[in-house]
C-alpha cells in the first residue's frame, strides 16, 4: 500500500458525564492512503462517529482524547484550535448524514460553497463564486451558474447532499470523512452520490473514510474495512478479507443478517441475539461474549480475558480480535 496520508494509533475517547466516564472509543488504529477508501462499519453506538470526529477535533469539550492522529506524519491530537481550524475543511473535510443541518437556510448554496473556499483562500468574492459554481457543476447540479443562487429548501435531499459534498471538496482536501452520507437518501440518489465520490477520488486522489452500516455500499466502494464493536476493533482487513474470510463472529453475524436483493431469499436471516452493550458496560473478557454463538468453542477465556487483534489468513493485514484462532464454521 502507498504511504498513508492519515494514520490513527491507539485512539481513545472518553466522555466525562454526570454518570461517570463513558469510554466511547477504546483504542483503535486505522490508516488510509491517497485515493483509497477505508470503510468503518458497526452497529449504532459502536463509536464510528466519535472516532471520526476525534480525527478532526470536533468533539464536545467533555471529551478526553488520547492517541496519535497523524496527517502526513504531523501530529494533530493536541494542536491548538486555531491550528486545527486551518486543517479542518482544508486538508481534512467531513460530510455528515444530515445534509440539511450542514447548510444554512438563510444563504444561497453558491454563497455557502464560496465562503467555505474563502475560509482557506485569500481571494475576492468573485473568484470564490467562480470556484463555487465550478464545484456545484462538478457534483452534478444542473445549470450550476443559475442554481447557485437557490436556497437549500429549494433543493431535494439528494441535491442538498451534493451541495454539502461540493462544500467539502472545494478546498481539494487530502482526506474526506463521510459519515453515513447516503443513509437518508433513496437508492437511486445513493448510486449517484457514490459514483460522484468515486469520480472525485479518481480525479484528485482524495482518501476517503466512509462510515456506513450498509454492507452493500461497503462491498462496492471500500478497499479496506474496519469493523467496530463497543468502541473497539473487532476485525480489520481488505474488503475481500472481510466478505470472503470474515474471522470474527460479529462480522459473520452482520453479514448473515443482511438481506440481499440479487438472490432468492433465505428462509430465515441469521440474527445476532440481543443488542450492543453500552460503552464500558463490559469490562472483562470479550465485549461480544453475551451475544456470541461461538463461546462454547473457546470456553472460559471469552469471559475472563479480553481478546486482542491477532493476524488471520488473508490478503494483507487481516486481523481479528477473537480467542477462536481459526475461522469459525458458520452457525445458522
Amino acid at each position: 500500500m502507498a504511504d498513508p496520508v492519515l494514520e490513527v494509533h491507539d485512539l481513545k475517547v472518553t466522555f466525562r458525564t454526570e454518570n461517570g466516564s463513558v469510554p466511547a472509543v477504546d483504542g483503535i488504529d486505522f490508516a488510509v492512503a491517497p485515493g483509497q477508501t477505508l470503510a468503518i462499519v458497526g452497529e449504532s453506538g459502536s463509536g464510528k462517529s466519535v472516532s471520526s470526529s476525534a480525527v478532526i477535533g470536533l468533539l464536545p469539550s467533555n471529551a478526553d482524547v488520547s492517541g496519535e492522529v497523524l496527517l502526513d506524519g504531523r501530529e494533530l491530537n493536541g494542536l491548538p484550535n486555531d491550528e486545527l481550524r486551518k486543517i479542518r475543511g482544508n486538508d481534512i473535510a467531513m460530510v455528515f448524514q444530515d445534509a440539511l443541518s450542514a447548510l444554512n437556510p438563510y444563504y444561497s448554496v453558491g454563497w455557502q460553497v464560496a465562503e467555505a473556499y474563502r475560509l482557506h483562500h485569500d481571494v475576492s468574492k468573485k473568484v470564490a463564486r467562480r470556484r463555487a459554481v465550478e464545484m456545484l457543476d462538478k457534483v452534478g447540479i444542473p445549470d450550476a451558474a443559475r442554481r447557485a443562487d437557490s436556497y437549500p429548501h429549494e433543493f431535494s435531499g439528494g441535491m442538498r447532499q451534493r451541495v454539502v459534498i461540493a462544500m467539502a471538496l472545494v478546498n481539494d482536501p487530502r482526506v474526506l470523512i463521510a459519515d453515513e452520507p447516503t443513509t437518508a437518501l433513496d437508492v437511486t440518489v445513493q448510486a449517484q452520490i457514490m459514483r460522484l465520490l468515486d469520480d472525485v477520488q479518481d480525479e484528485f486522489g482524495t482518501a476517503l473514510i466512509l462510515i456506513s452500516h450498509d454492507l452493500g455500499v461497503v462491498a462496492e466502494v471500500a478497499d479496506d474495512v474496519l469493523v467496530m464493536y463497543a468502541g473497539r476493533a473487532a476485525e480489520r482487513g481488505t474488503v475481500r478479507d472481510l466478505f470472503f474470510r470474515a474471522a470474527h463472529p460479529y462480522s459473520l453475524g452482520l453479514l448473515g443478517a443482511m438481506p440481499r436483493v440479487d438472490v432468492p431469499p433465505k428462509p430465515r436471516l441469521t440474527t445476532i441475539p440481543g443488542t450492543p452493550p453500552g460503552p464500558g458496560s463490559i469490562t472483562t473478557g470479550c465485549p461480544f461474549q453475551p451475544r456470541c454463538a461461538y463461546t462454547h468453542l473457546v470456553g472460559e477465556r471469552c469471559v475472563t480475558e479480553r481478546p486482542e487483534l491477532t493476524p488471520r489468513p488473508g490478503e494483507g493485514d487481516h486481523e481479528a480480535a477473537c480467542h477462536l484462532g481459526r475461522r469459525p464454521e458458520v452457525i445458522l
Binding site: Q190, A191, A219, G253, A257, P264, P265, I272
Partner: protein, 328 residues
C-alpha cells in the same frame, strides 16, 4: 383463491395546498389512482422512492385517511365512508405498525397500558394473561409489562408496536417502514419475527419499505409505486428477477450487493422525481426514462399483463421483455 382482505379500487388521495389568492388552488396528488388487492396469507411489499405515496396509500387503506376518490373494501365490504364507532370492527381486522418505534409509543404509558389501548378502543378489557401472551408472541416477557418505552432498545420498541397491533387479532398488518430505524442485526430479528407470526397466526402484511432487499426477504408480491401510481406489480420472484418496467429495473440496479467484485449493470437515473403537484402528462416516469418516446407523453399507460405471465403486470408502452423460459 383465498379470501380477499383488502381491495383498493382506483383510490386517489389529493392534499390541498392553500395557494395564494390569485393563483389556482393546487393539489398534491399523493396517490393518483391505485388498484390493489391483498388476499389472506399474502405479504405485499410496497416499494418506491421517497414521496411516491407509499405511506399515504397505507393510511388510506387502514382508514386513517379518507380517500379523495375511489373505494376501500375490507373483507369484501365497502368501508370508504364508514366513520366513528362503526369503524371499530374494521380496525379490528386491519392494524398499522409505524416506522419510528420511539415516536409511536406514548412515553408516559407502561407497556401494559400501551397494549391495552386497542382493546379499550374496542370496548374490551384485556386480562393479564392476554397481555403476557402478546408479549411472548413478539419475544418479550411478563416482566416487561410494568416498564416504559425509554427502558427498551429500538428493536424491542418495535416489538411492542407489533404486539400492540396484534392485540385485537387482526388479519392484516400494514407496516410502514417497520425496520428502517433499526441496525441490521436487529432488523433481521424483526423480519424473522414477522415471518414467524405469519406462519403461526396466518397473518397477511402490507409492508411499506424503501429498502428493496428487506422487501425481497419477506414479500410474496411486490407493488412498485412512482408518483402516486403503481407502475409494476407481480409475484416477488418475477419482479425481482425480470422487472418489466424501466423504473423498477433502474431501481433494482441501484441497490448495492454485499459481495465485493460483483459489478452491477447500473442504470443511473438522472434528475429528481417530478413534483406530485404537477406530474408529467402521459407516463409519470417519462421525464427520467431511458426508453421514453413521443407516445409516452400522450396518455398514461395502464397496468397490463407482461408477456408470458398472468399475474405480473406493468404500466409501460415498452416493457422489458420477459426471460426466454417464460415465453416458451
Amino acid at each position: 383463491m383465498s379470501e380477499e382482505l383488502l381491495n383498493l379500487k382506483d383510490v386517489k388521495k389529493y392534499f390541498g395546498l392553500r395557494g395564494v389568492p390569485w393563483q389556482k388552488a393546487q393539489a398534491v396528488r399523493a396517490v393518483d389512482g391505485v388498484n390493489l388487492v391483498v388476499r389472506k396469507g399474502e405479504t405485499i411489499g410496497l416499494v418506491g422512492e421517497s414521496g411516491s405515496g407509499k405511506s399515504t396509500l397505507a393510511r388510506v387503506a387502514t382508514r386513517l385517511l379518507d380517500p379523495t376518490q375511489g373505494r376501500v373494501e375490507i373483507g369484501g365490504k365497502d368501508v370508504t365512508r364508514v366513520k366513528g364507532r362503526r369503524l371499530r370492527p374494521i380496525r379490528r381486522r386491519i392494524q398499522m405498525v409505524f416506522q419510528d418505534p420511539q415516536a409511536s409509543l406514548n412515553p408516559r404509558q407502561s407497556v401494559a397500558t400501551i397494549l391495552s389501548t386497542p382493546f379499550r378502543a374496542q370496548g374490551l378489557r384485556p386480562t393479564r394473561a392476554q397481555l403476557v401472551e402478546l408479549l411472548e408472541q413478539v419475544g418479550l416477557a411478563e416482566e416487561h409489562l410494568v416498564r416504559y418505552p425509554h427502558e427498551f432498545s429500538g428493536g424491542q420498541r418495535q416489538r411492542i408496536g407489533i404486539a400492540r397491533a396484534l392485540s385485537v387479532k387482526p388479519d392484516l398488518l400494514v407496516c410502514d417502514e417497520p425496520v428502517s430505524a433499526l441496525d441490521v442485526s436487529v432488523q433481521a430479528q424483526v423480519l424473522n419475527l414477522l415471518a414467524d407470526l405469519r406462519d403461526e397466526l396466518g397473518l397477511s402484511y402490507v409492508l411499506v419499505a424503501h429498502d428493496l432487499a428487506v422487501v425481497r426477504q419477506v414479500a410474496d408480491r411486490i407493488a412498485v409505486m412512482y408518483l402516486g401510481t403503481i407502475v409494476e406489480e407481480g409475484p416477488a420472484a418475477q419482479v425481482y428477477e425480470s422487472p418489466a418496467h424501466p423504473y423498477t429495473k433502474a431501481l433494482l440496479s441501484a441497490v448495492p450487493v454485499p459481495e465485493p467484485g460483483v459489478t452491477r449493470d447500473r442504470i443511473v437515473l438522472t434528475g429528481d422525481v417530478p413534483t406530485p403537484i404537477d406530474p408529467p402528462s402521459g407516463c409519470p416516469f417519462r421525464t427520467r426514462c431511458y426508453k421514453a418516446e413521443d407516445v409516452c407523453a400522450t396518455k398514461r399507460p395502464v397496468l397490463e399483463p407482461v408477456e408470458g405471465s398472468t399475474e405480473h403486470r406493468a404500466a409501460c408502452y415498452f416493457p422489458e421483455p420477459p426471460p426466454l423460459e417464460r415465453t416458451q
